[in-house]
């Protein structure tokens, strides 16, 4: 019996010793960031679809269009500047001089053309690929540092779609290198032009990078090495930051109190998302009799919600008063001040008025409704917000039958005939985007995926107005008139109370001041893939 146990222990010892050396907490030159997901963890821009790849692909690949580091939105990238042609049918990009790939090859217009075409190629499954395929007619190399893209029709936000500020596209890939080593070789030893070189990727565990040794336009890294860790459990991520095993960890608002208690600094990225609730298929005949079809009822439901309490208590103050649907302080093509005042007034907490409206609508002692509560990937705090909202509705007499569902199960219900959702409400979210209008198209235009106002076969007045308003914006070349048209669209949606913002969520991070110095995130961008290179060492810039 004794020998049997000793033998087994020796065997396990063997296994342990064989594994690679670990990340040493005390390594000063290493910046460690703990994330809740590494997406598909595949080192190829055309292979990952959701946001995470902005974390782990951004360090290696630069985007054709970059960031406006101060107030979010787009700015100069691989292309210093770009121009929309007079006829609006093409965009010309002028590349920054002297950019190099990690293997020394220069970055040229051929690489940009090759990259955009590779994103649109059949085997590419990146989420923006479909939009690009629809937008781009053809791409022309003018000279080594100039490339022109011809679009199908006028697409005002085409340039923005080639930036990580808006979508996840526009990564510039090395044409010569990929053509020599092939796609598989490229994925095993990826090369880009970003401030960090690829070192190693341990599936499901971590990805390691090495800083480039030359100055980089995005910022020259202060740390020699960068490691992104996959730590799925939030309390474990928090523990790693507190023990110094990680410098930065992504956390949800519910953990902010715990992080502060542990002496960590909190970095909040404003305007990363907006938690909303919306009603589905009210225009459909089977939902005709539903009390939700009365706009007064819908407005009452918004007035019943105390958004300040949700911000203070559910989100631990790591959230802001929302702008209108899918709009943020850094949004373009809309008059921000007007809508700030609107949201303060229209989204106020006024339960008395709510009850009054309900009574006027013929429901003095409330009614019963179904509310789907779910959380999209990366924002688990949507479920507690949903519970709080349901709680407020119950307080004004509405009987809420809440169904909490995992996102993978809820998402398909929102596509096709949406039979499970018609006549019900659900939580949803809008991502932090400078341009609100594409998001409006998805939800309010009859041909959109969610078509909450109406579908092509059944498009009541509200649906027709929305379609017309959207067409007006898209076709408009003149900025001032496009802003007015956008305002009209936002007005139309706001007054419908069918899709209502709850709070503006923030990306929250716990930071260990002894591991990394003071840094500012990019407004609207939750991921740090484009921030790591500007993070100072703790001694260089201590936290205030």
């Amino acid at each position: 019996m004794r020998t049997w146990t000793l033998l087994a222990l020796a065997l396990s010892g063997l296994l342990i010793a064989g594994e690679q050396s670990a990340v040493h907490a005390a390594d000063k030159d290493m910046l460690v960031i703990a994330l809740d997901t590494l997406g598909a963890q595949v080192m190829d821009p055309i292979m990952d679809t959701r946001a995470p790849h902005a974390h782990y692909q951004a360090p290696i690949w630069d985007s054709l269009v970059g960031f406006d580091l101060e107030n979010g939105g787009i700015g100069p990238g691989v292309a210093e500047r770009w121009q929309l042609a007079a006829d609006g049918q093409s965009w010309t990009f002028y590349l920054r001089k002297g950019q190099r790939f990690h293997n020394g090859d220069p970055v040229t217009a051929q690489d940009v053309k090759f990259s955009l075409e590779r994103v649109m190629s059949p085997e590419s499954i990146s989420s923006g690929a479909a939009a690009l395929r629809r937008a781009v007619d053809r791409i022309e190399v003018v000279d080594d540092l100039t490339v022109r893209a011809y679009t199908k029709g006028v697409i005002p936000q085409f340039a923005a779609s080639l930036s990580r500020a808006v979508f996840m596209e526009g990564s510039v890939m090395p044409k010569k290198y990929i053509e020599t080593v092939g796609a598989k070789g490229f994925r095993d030893k990826p090369i880009g032009s970003g401030p960090w070189k690829f070192v190693r990727s341990v599936p499901g565990d971590r990805i390691e990078y090495e800083a480039v040794t030359y100055p980089h336009w995005r910022g020259t890294p202060q740390f020699k090495r960068l490691t992104l860790l996959l730590v799925p459990e939030q309390s474990t991520r928090l523990a790693m930051v507190r023990t110094g095993e990680a410098a930065i960890a992504s956390i949800g608002p519910e953990a902010v109190k715990e992080a502060r208690a542990g002496g960590m600094k909190i970095v909040s990225v404003p305007g990363t998302m907006q938690a909303v609730y919306q009603f589905w298929g009210l225009y459909r005949p089977e939902a005709k009799a539903s009390p939700l079809n009365d706009v007064r009822v819908r407005e009452a439901l918004s007035l019943a919600i105390d958004r300040q309490q949700i911000i203070d208590h559910v989100m631990g103050k790591e959230a802001r008063w929302p702008m209108p649907f899918a709009a943020f302080k850094y949004s373009s093509d809309m008059t921000i001040p007007r809508w700030e005042d609107w949201s303060r007034a229209a989204l106020r907490y006024d339960p008395a008025r709510a009850k009054q409206l309900l009574a006027e609508a013929g429901h003095p002692n409330g009614f019963t409704m179904t509310f789907w509560n779910t959380a999209l990937p990366g924002t688990p705090f949507m479920v507690p917000i949903g519970e709080a909202v349901a709680g407020f509705w119950e307080k004004i007499g509405v009987k809420v039958e809440m169904k909490t569902v995992e996102w993978g199960a809820f998402d398909p219900m929102g596509r096709g005939e949406q039979k499970g959702l018609v006549g019900t409400a659900s939580m949803y979210r809008t991502a932090g985007r400078p341009e609100p209008i594409p998001r409006y198209a998805t939800t309010f235009v009859s041909k959109g995926v969610q078509h909450v106002f109406g579908d092509p076969q059944n498009c009541p007045a509200l649906c027709v107005d929305a379609d017309k308003a959207y067409e007006a914006i898209v076709a408009e070349r003149d900025d001032a008139r496009r802003t007015a048209a956008t305002n009209r669209m936002i007005e139309l949606v706001a007054r419908s109370w069918i899709a209502v913002p709850i709070v503006e969520g923030m990306g929250t991070w716990a930071v260990n001041p002894k591991n990394v110095g003071y840094f500012k995130p990019i407004p609207g961008r939750h991921e740090f893939g484009d921030v790591a290179e500007r993070m100072p060492r703790p001694d260089q810039k201590p936290w205030p």
Binding site: S235, K257, E258, A388, V405
Partner: protein, 301 residues
């Protein structure tokens, strides 16, 4: 070859049935009053939840969120065991949670146990090819991720108590089937079954009259000892996001939600955790006592 298979499973049945059998030969097995009391209180609380709970389990008051229990600084007697992230009363949720956890446990155990009992008896009694096939199915079922079934059912049947109960049932039946089969083999080997067959009893009669009563006490014991296991599985499913959906309070969900506040709000997970431990302890003691009480061999020592 089948004979050898039987030997293994007879061993397992004896062992697993003895898994918790302490066979206190000659030991003074006094009635486990402690566990009777706890179980009685649990059932009472679950049944009379609306009367006992000071507040409604879903009533929120955000301003007084995360209040510590009354006896700690900052705690209020309005919320004896403090409040959670949404300001809901922890005590009330614990009380209603008892009801939910018991229902899930009851449905999962009776369904899972029932199927396991049936499969175990058939497999044990019939033996041969069907027996070894059923046992290999049991092996495979153990590798089946409960989370997949929980998620799958949530998608098709919609979230809720039923979904979780069915998901746990699929996990439970395999364990019951294996043990019951071993017990059936042990009983089948005894003389009185051969005797019954000699008297021309039909297989069904033999199973009903002879096999089931003898297997029943092991089955009863397994039921009590698996109460803890079911609640823990529900808690793990909640941790993975496939547990009983809010706003229905359940102990497993409460422990899972509390995990982010271990330092700043320890009571959120410790209170339901302690409740689970108490219930499991009570049912284990009750199971041990029940086994001795039911076990004919021990009665006339």
């Amino acid at each position: 070859m089948a004979r050898v298979e039987e030997r293994i499973d007879v061993e397992l049945a004896a062992a697993t049935a003895a898994d918790d059998a302490s066979r206190p030969r000659g030991d003074f097995a006094r009635l486990p009053w402690g566990s009777f009391v706890i179980i009685a209180v649990l059932i009472l609380v679950a049944v009379l939840a609306p009367l006992i709970a000071p507040h409604s389990p879903t009533e929120q008051s955000l301003p007084d969120k995360l209040l510590p229990p009354a006896w700690e600084a900052g705690g209020s007697t309005k919320h004896l065991l403090g409040t959670d992230v949404l300001g809901r009363d922890v005590l009330s949720r614990l009380v209603y949670g008892a009801r939910v956890s018991l229902i899930v446990a009851a449905v999962a155990l009776l369904a899972g146990g029932g199927i396991g009992l049936a499969v175990g008896i058939v497999s044990g009694y019939v033996g041969g090819r069907t027996d070894s096939f059923l046992m290999r199915t049991v092996d495979a079922t153990l590798t089946f991720p409960t989370i997949l079934i929980a998620l799958l059912l949530a998608v098709s049947l919609g979230p809720g108590l039923g979904t979780i109960a069915i998901a746990i049932t699929v996990l439970i039946w395999a364990r019951f089937a294996r043990v019951v089969r071993g017990e059936v083999l042990a009983v089948k080997a005894r003389d009185f079954v051969a005797l019954a067959r000699v008297h021309g009893c039909s297989h069904l009669r033999i199973m009903a009259v002879h096999i089931v009563p003898n297997v029943l006490n092991t089955f009863m014991v397994l039921l009590t000892l698996h109460i803890g296991f079911v609640i823990i599985v529900e808690a793990s499913l909640s941790f993975l996001g496939a547990g009983i959906p809010p706003p229905t309070p359940s102990w497993g969900q409460m422990v899972s939600d509390g995990r982010n506040h271990i330092a700043s709000a320890w009571w959120l997970s410790v209170v339901p955790g302690a409740a689970i431990m108490l219930v499991v302890l009570a049912f284990n003691l009750f199971g041990d006592w029940l086994r001795d009480w039911l076990d004919p061999r021990l009665r006339q020592v």
